[in-house]
Every structure is written in structure tokens, then in C-alpha cells.
């Protein structure tokens, strides 16, 4: 029990994580580090499936950029990712962890599929505007309930937004297999939208549509609102210190509420883009998890506008590349998703370096 009297001995100096502020070069280097680690990890899997990792990385990252078609396809893929990325970033910046971009995207798509066939008599510009507005409102509406529950009853938004995704998928499935089922073919897909409501192509001989421009505008808007407007400052203040923000007179409730609805609305726009720009009707698999990938985009992009744009482009590239890689090298097409998911985990781990750095404990700290 009792220990011997104190003797002079070398102090233990274990490592620990120290809170600090990362220098600018580290902040820029972090995404690169994350990508390198991700590919190192992915190499193990690729080697296990019998392919040469370098070949695969070439197919994933370089090959899509060598041909016009696939280059433009990257932009097509990036369109919903930009929007869901911005959507998630808005919410996360306010400290509201909206995991429901997928459901909100489908809500927007639902709105577009509902409006689309009814706009036949409209001028194209008005019809397109109506589609955008409808998707925005529908996405925001789907985000409303969790936001209200969070703000007024402190119900955890991660759970509610996540669960509502399934609800939305079931709702869409029910509609498409029931009242909206195509009467002619019997396929579970909604009636085709009016020609006036279709998003025009912005690049000839490609699938790149108006949604891409809308997405870029929203990325710019996101940057401007956050850094240049009162609402943006209040949103950041709430996200980084709700108590202090409240103390300084910011209405935390309304800020979080508005951020959540904006987030849902922007995610809804992603759904509109897929309906009005690509398919022209609603099907169940209209989003291959764009909403969830948006979380990766936002996180990897550091919740910054420029970062979100770069991240969306990168993930779209991996998306397109993984399809061709599986075709060319006979590896599973899931690889792209594995890389994306690994990237999220690695990014989250690496982001710790942003706030903490390893340091030796000093003797004084040891005692405290």
C-alpha cells in the first residue's frame, strides 16, 4: 500500500494532443495528406482484389480527364454533389448536423416531378424558375420538422434527419409504385415533365445542364453570405459558440432554424437538377446517395465554399473513374464508394491536426 519516500527520478513525459491553431500551410496540406492516406489504404484493398493499385488510380483519377465525354460527365456528377455539399456545409456551419440531405434531395425531386408535368403552358424561363422554387420549398419543408424539434424540444437532429431519409425513400417508392406509376409501361416512374420545365443544356453535346450553373452560383452565394452578411456572421457565431452568440444578442433559435431550412432547400435543388436536367421524370434510384456523399464533400471541403467546390469535383471524378475502372480492370464498381467513404473517415481523423498537435507534456502540465 504505502509507497517508498519520493526519490529523484526522471519525470514521465508522455505525448499528448495540444490544442492550437494550425498554420495556413498545414490547413492547405491536410486534404492532400488525407487523399494520400486514403489511397494508401485503398491500395491494400485493390491489391487484394488482384489489380495493380497504380493502374486503378490512373483509371480513377487520370483517365476520365483524357476524354471530352468523361470530362463533361464529371461536371454532370459534380452538379448534385456541389448542391448537397453546400447544403450540408450550411447546416454544419450553424452547428446543426443535418444528415438528411438525401431525403431533402428526394423531396426536391418529388416537388419537381409534381410540378414538371403541369407547366406545359408556361414559358420555359418561368417554368424553370418555378421548378427551382418548388424544389427549394419542398426540400426546406422536408427539413422543417427535425429543425423545429431541434430548436424547440432539443431533439437530436442527427437521428431525426437520418431517419427521415428512409421515410422519404419509402414515400417516393410508394408514390411511384402507386398513383404515379407510368400507366403505359407500368414502370415505377413519374409522368414525364413538360418540355418547358426541362433544364437547358449549358454545354452543347453533353448532359451538363442548367443545374451546374445553379450549383456554382450557390457555392459563390454560400461564400458571400457567410463572409459578407450579418446573417452569415451570426450563423458562424451560433455554430462555434451558441452560448456566447446568445449572450451577444444573436437569436440562436431562428438562426439554426433558417440554416436548417436553407440546407434542406439547397439539397432539394439537387433533386430538381436530377429530374429536370437529366431524367425528366422521377425514379426511385435517382440519387446514388448524393445526399450522403454531400456530407463527405462538405467535410472534406472544410465547410468552405472553395473547398466544397474542389471536393465535389474530386469526388465526382472518383465516381466517374470508378465506373470505367471496373470496366477496364474488372474490379468491383464499389471501389469508388469505398474510396469516398475512406476519404471521409481519414479526413475526419486528419482534421484533428487542424485543432490539435502532438506535443511533449511539460512537467508542470504533468502535475496539473
Amino acid at each position: 500500500m504505502a509507497r517508498p519516500a519520493p526519490t529523484a527520478r526522471a519525470p514521465r513525459l508522455p505525448w499528448r494532443w495540444e490544442r492550437g491553431s494550425a498554420p495556413w500551410w498545414l490547413r492547405l496540406a491536410l486534404p492532400v495528406i488525407a487523399i494520400l492516406i486514403t489511397f494508401a489504404l485503398a491500395s491494400v484493398l485493390i491489391a487484394a482484389s488482384g489489380a495493380n493499385p497504380l493502374d486503378v488510380f490512373y483509371e480513377l483519377l487520370i483517365r476520365p480527364l483524357t476524354r471530352r465525354t468523361s470530362r463533361l460527365e464529371v461536371l454532370v456528377r459534380a452538379t448534385p454533389l456541389l448542391l448537397t455539399g453546400v447544403a450540408v456545409a450550411i447546416a454544419f456551419r450553424a452547428g446543426y448536423y443535418n444528415i438528411g440531405a438525401e431525403g431533402q434531395l428526394y423531396a426536391g425531386a418529388l416537388g419537381a416531378a409534381f410540378l414538371g408535368p403541369r407547366l406545359g403552358e408556361w414559358a420555359p424561363s418561368a417554368a424553370v424558375a418555378a421548378m427551382l422554387a418548388g424544389g427549394l420549398v419542398a426540400g426546406a419543408a422536408w427539413a422543417l420538422l427535425p429543425a423545429v424539434l431541434k430548436v424547440y424540444a432539443k431533439v437530436d437532429e442527427v437521428v431525426t434527419t437520418l431517419l427521415l431519409n428512409s421515410v422519404m425513400l419509402l414515400l417516393v417508392g410508394g408514390l411511384l409504385n402507386g398513383p404515379w406509376r407510368d400507366p403505359v409501361s407500368g414502370w415505377p416512374r413519374s409522368p414525364t415533365i413538360a418540355a418547358a420545365a426541362e433544364f437547358p443544356q449549358v454545354i452543347a453535346r453533353s448532359r451538363v445542364h442548367l443545374g451546374f450553373v445553379v450549383a456554382l452560383v450557390l457555392v459563390a452565394l454560400f461564400w458571400w453570405v457567410l463572409s459578407r452578411t450579418r446573417f452569415g456572421l451570426e450563423l458562424r457565431a451560433v455554430g462555434m459558440g451558441a452560448t456566447a452568440a446568445r449572450f451577444m444578442g444573436v437569436s440562436v433559435r431562428s438562426t439554426v432554424l433558417v440554416a436548417a431550412l436553407l440546407s434542406g432547400g439547397v439539397a432539394g435543388l439537387a433533386g430538381v437538377g436530377e429530374v429536370a436536367g437529366i431524367h425528366h421524370y422521377l425514379i426511385e434510384g435517382i440519387s446514388p446517395d448524393y445526399g450522403y456523399t454531400g456530407i463527405i464533400v462538405a467535410t472534406f471541403g472544410g465547410l468552405h465554399a472553395l473547398g466544397v467546390a474542389v471536393a465535389a469535383g474530386f469526388l465526382a471524378l472518383v465516381d466517374v473513374g470508378s465506373t470505367s475502372a471496373s470496366r477496364a480492370l474488372g474490379i468491383p464498381a464499389y471501389l469508388g464508394q469505398v474510396v469516398q467513404a475512406t476519404l471521409l473517415l481519414v479526413t475526419l481523423a486528419v482534421l484533428l491536426l487542424n485543432r490539435y498537435r502532438p506535443a511533449r507534456r511539460s512537467r508542470r502540465e504533468e502535475r496539473a
Binding site: 519520493p6 491553431s21 459578407r228 450579418r230 456566447a244 449572450f247 437569436s251
Partner: protein
């Protein structure tokens, strides 16, 4: 073993420093089995540091700790527990969804499987041996705070502790539960346990202890057998002096209000410095200046007169009327608190932590809604208004927790302007140039060592406090609420903050200052309110302060009907 019982635990010449601060200096202490030792002292006297040393959370820089006469060196609480020392802190370490027995054996019982009936039997046996009324199968979640505390005690006893330390055990208890705790402790003492109880309530010392050790500024300043000690004597020891003429020199050296040359000398380089101290007399500020002015315009060279409360014709600027506050469990945190503040008056609130002063600040700053009563500012009801509106009405707020007043991850510039962001916004768009100009101006005027773009969390405590002060005081509030203004600040920053607070008073604002630093309260205040148990139990003009009585009142004694 000698004839006198060997102390269970003793400290010999223990010294503990934190940087430049000496938390404990050359402390000797013995505690023997079968006695309850009360450790008495103000906040910051070193009680908690001492506890943490005995419990293995800190190691002494000098001196030694002995258990049963043998020198030991604890490297963690696990060592202390193994040596038979138990600690019941104010924050219970219990898992609410587990039963009493499960909590007691948690982290202790070996093996993979738990034999419920066996552990329940063992826990019950311990409880019965020490006369503790605890049902082993009860869920902790469903228990009262007092009962949970008994579980904490049981936890320590079940680990065969011979010395039980209780850190302010009654702070969380109702008076009834408190009395019950004392009965329990009496029982433990009779069964041969050594107990240290940390408190600043004299009544508890008298009620439960056999011996009392008084700490002040990290030193043992007195040791008495409780039976032979008087409360007044203990209060005196705790506070550190019998009667202290209020220190006025700091203020005497300052220029008088209205002495414009003096003000300019004080702020030689800042054109934007607050020069119009009669700011409050502008139309719209509903005051009747003049009544109290003549006395304030004739300062003697050595001593500035205290603020004289006007006898007639003047309404107070701030009236708190019968403020009450109860928490969710129905515990009364503020009990019928009423006071008036006049323009040009600095009122200090003296109280030991946890006696309602933080809650009072919280209500006055709009962060908490009172359960009853109201606060009037120039006759207008302001209690219940959101913080933004309070700021607009001229309530300046400097809260206890600086980090609750600034957003660490926002820049200095943003933190300096967010409270009045409306002034820097054009149609929703931020006027970056105006924000930068304001930040530059305040940084220069308040001597903040930071650049406008720095994140606030990278600054020192003193500079963060300057930012809070700059943001608040630059708006020339009519009523300033400030809590623990210099906690954790160094001497220079402290002096700076004091200067600024007196400046507010001098430009005719009403200032309410809550501080755990009694010296600070006595030095700056025109009037001292003493709070205990959520009530105002004393009200003294600064030149009539009887420090001994303040000490007694802070410790919950010598209460007279208020008013």
C-alpha cells in the same frame, strides 16, 4: 504506535505552486481516526488544492504526505484509494441508470460475470456496518441528491476507506438533507473513521466538527478545537482581518468626474475615448442629474468622497424587486432579492461561490428568466428581455465566464462588433470597413494585444477580458453588470480592469459588481451587498463596512432581517 493515536493522514510542510501562484505554502495538517476535521477558508484559500494533494490528483512540490506515519507519494487517485482515502466531491460520479450496488462495485469487482445477489449482499453489509440508510437495489436515477450523496459515501466506504474527504458536501443539499448528512458523519466518526469536511459555512463547522483548520491564501492561519472556538473568531481568521478601512487610495489618485483635462491625461492618444461622462444626461436618458453632483465635484486631494445616496427627489436607475429563481427541481437559487442602484454608484456583491450571485448576474444579463419579481431600468421593466434588447437599452454585461461572452473561433474584429452588429450592417450586408475601423479603435483604446484578424481563442485571459470590456463599455452603458471581472488575470490586467470599472462609475453609470475576491469588492465598492443562500443578507455603505460582520454573513451567520 505511541500513546497518542497515530494520524491517519498527515501533511508535513506541503507547498504547491502553479506557475507564479503559490496555492499552498508550508502546510502541516493531521487528521486522526474518530474525528471530523473541518477545513475552513474562502474561495481560493487552497482547500481544494489540499484535497487534491491528499487524493493523489496533485503531487506536492515540497513537503510530504504520510499515511499511517509512512511517507507516500501518490501518482494518481488510484494510489490514494488503495491507501484508504475516499473523496466525495460536489459532482457525483454515479451512473444514473445503474443500481446502488452496481455503482458501488463499478470498476472494482473482478471477473467477467456479476453475481448480483452477492454484490448486493456485500454492499448492504457495508451500509449496515456504517449505519448508512441505502437500498442496494434502488436505481440511482430515482434517488434524491441527498441519497445519491450517501451512495458516493458508501462507494468510498466499500473500498475500505479510513479517511473520507467531503468537498463542500452541503452545497447541493437541502437543509434537511444536510442535517441528515451530519448525522451520518457523526455515525462514521463513532465507528472510527477520519473525516475531513471542506466548507465555508460556520454553522456546519460548529455542528459537525471536533477540530477546525482555517486556511487563507494557502497558509494555515489557525487551528482550533471546535468546542472552544467562537464563530466570530473563525470568521475573522477566514477573512484575515478584523476591520479594514476601505482602501480608497486607488480612487483618490484619479481625476474627478467632469475634470476634462484629467480624462485627457488618462487617455492621451485616443481621440475616441469617452470624454462625455455626462453622457447620461442627454435627452432620453431619464435621469435628474445635479442632486448628487456637488459633493462629487469637490474631491479632496487624498480621498474621493464615496457616492452619497440622494435623500430626496431621485429615483434609482436600477431597481431589482423581489427577484426569485427556482431551478427545475424546485431548488430556490434566488430568494426575494431586492436592491436599488443609483447612477454613479458602484455596488459590490460579496458572497461565497454558490450563494446565488451567479444566478443574479444571469438574470440581470438576460440569460435566465426569473421565476418571480422584476428588474426595472429607469422605471422600465427589463427583466425577461432578450440579451440583444438589454444591450440596446444600455445594459453593459461582463459575465463571469469570459468564454461565454466571446466566440473563440471568431476573430477579434467579429467579436468586437457582433453585439452591435446592426450598426455595421447595410441591408444585411456587413460593412467590413466600419467593422475594421471599430476594431482598430477599440484595440487601441483598450490596449488589447491582438490583431483584428486573430481568433479570440488564441488570446490570453486578460486580453479576452479587455475585448469583452471594450465591446461593452465603448457603448457607454447606463447600467453595467460585471461578474468576477479579474478572475485569473495578472496584476497589471487587474489594475487595468479596476480603472475601467471606476471610470464607468465616474461617468455616472450604475455598476453592479459580483466578485469572489472580497478585497476587490471592498476596494472598489460604494456599497457592499452580502449574499447567502440566494438572499441578500447584508447591505453596507463602504465606509461603514464591518469586515468581521461581512465574513460572518458570507458564512451564513449573524443574519438580521434585511432592510
Amino acid at each position: 504506535m505511541t500513546t497518542t493515536p497515530e494520524p491517519v493522514v498527515s501533511l508535513r510542510s506541503v507547498t504547491k505552486r502553479f506557475g507564479a501562484l503559490t496555492a499552498l505554502a508550508d502546510v502541516d495538517l493531521d487528521v486522526r481516526s474518530g474525528e471530523i476535521l473541518a477545513l475552513l477558508g474562502e474561495n481560493g484559500a487552497g482547500k481544494t488544492t489540499l484535497t487534491k494533494i491528499v487524493y493523489g490528483m496533485y503531487q506536492p512540490d515540497e513537503g510530504e504526505l504520510r499515511v499511517g506515519g509512512v511517507p507516500v507519494r501518490f501518482r494518481s487517485p488510484a494510489d490514494a484509494i488503495a491507501s484508504g482515502i475516499g473523496l466525495v466531491s460536489q459532482h457525483f460520479a454515479l451512473v444514473p441508470s445503474l443500481t446502488v450496488a452496481e455503482n458501488v462495485v463499478l470498476g472494482r469487482e473482478g471477473g467477467v460475470l456479476l453475481d448480483r445477489s452477492k454484490i448486493e449482499g456485500a454492499v448492504l453489509a457495508t451500509a449496515e456496518r456504517y449505519g448508512l440508510d441505502v437500498a442496494p437495489r434502488a436505481l440511482v436515477r430515482a434517488m434524491s441528491v441527498g441519497a445519491q450523496q450517501r451512495v458516493e459515501i458508501l462507494k468510498a466506504l466499500h473500498r475500505d476507506c479510513r479517511l473520507l474527504i467531503l468537498d463542500e458536501p452541503t452545497a447541493v443539499l437541502t437543509p434537511q438533507d444536510g442535517e441528515r448528512l451530519f448525522t451520518t458523519l457523526d455515525g462514521l466518526r463513532e465507528r472510527g473513521l477520519a473525516v475531513i469536511i471542506i466548507t465555508h459555512k460556520l454553522r456546519e463547522v460548529m455542528r459537525v466538527s471536533q477540530r477546525v483548520v482555517v486556511l487563507r491564501h494557502g497558509r494555515v492561519v489557525g487551528e482550533r478545537a471546535t468546542a472552544g472556538a467562537s464563530q466570530a473568531e473563525l470568521a475573522r481568521l477566514m477573512i484575515g482581518r478584523e476591520q479594514l478601512p476601505v482602501e480608497r487610495r486607488a480612487r483618490a489618485a484619479r481625476p474627478a468626474p467632469g475634470d476634462a483635462s484629467g480624462m485627457r491625461r488618462h487617455n492621451p492618444t485616443q481621440p475616441g475615448a469617452p470624454e462625455e461622462h455626462d453622457d447620461l444626461t442627454r435627452p432620453g436618458a431619464p435621469l435628474e442629474p445635479g442632486t448628487g453632483e456637488p459633493a462629487r465635484r469637490q474631491p479632496t486631494p487624498l480621498q474621493r468622497p464615496l457616492f452619497q445616496r440622494p435623500l430626496f427627489q431621485r429615483t434609482p436607475l436600477v431597481e431589482a424587486r423581489r427577484l426569485t429563481l427556482r431551478d427545475k427541481r424546485g431548488v430556490t437559487l434566488l430568494d426575494d432579492v431586492s436592491f436599488d442602484l443609483y447612477p454613479g454608484e458602484l455596488v459590490g456583491v460579496a458572497a461565497v461561490a454558490g450563494n446565488g450571485q451567479s444566478e443574479l448576474v444571469s438574470v440581470l444579463t438576460g440569460m435566465t428568466q426569473p421565476s418571480g419579481g422584476e428588474v426595472l431600468l429607469s422605471g422600465q421593466r427589463v427583466s425577461g428581455l432578450p440579451p440583444a434588447q438589454l444591450a440596446r437599452l444600455g445594459v453593459g454585461r461582463v459575465p463571469e465566464d469570459r468564454l461565454a461572452a466571446v466566440v473563440g473561433n471568431l476573430s477579434v474584429r467579429e467579436n468586437l462588433t457582433l453585439e452591435h452588429i446592426g450598426a455595421f450592417t447595410r441591408a444585411g450586408h456587413l460593412d467590413g470597413r466600419a467593422m475594421a475601423a471599430e476594431a482598430d479603435r477599440l484595440i487601441a483604446e483598450y490596449q488589447v494585444k491582438a490583431k483584428p484578424g486573430d481568433l479570440v481563442r488564441t488570446l490570453s485571459g486578460g486580453n479576452i477580458q479587455k475585448i469583452v470590456l471594450a465591446r461593452t463599455l465603448s457603448r457607454k452603458p447606463r447600467f453595467v453588470v460585471v461578474a468576477q471581472p479579474t478572475r485569473g488575470l495578472d496584476v497589471g490586467a487587474t489594475a487595468y480592469v479596476h480603472e475601467r470599472l471606476l471610470e464607468q462609475r465616474d461617468r455616472n453609470a450604475a455598476v453592479l459588481m459580483v466578485s469572489e475576491d472580497l478585497d476587490e469588492v471592498l476596494r472598489l465598492s460604494d456599497r457592499v451587498l452580502v449574499m447567502y443562500g440566494g438572499r441578500i443578507v447584508g447591505d453596507f455603505a463602504a465606509d461603514e463596512v464591518d469586515v468581521g460582520r461581512v465574513g460572518l454573513l458570507m458564512a451564513g451567520e449573524g443574519m438580521v432581517a434585511h432592510g
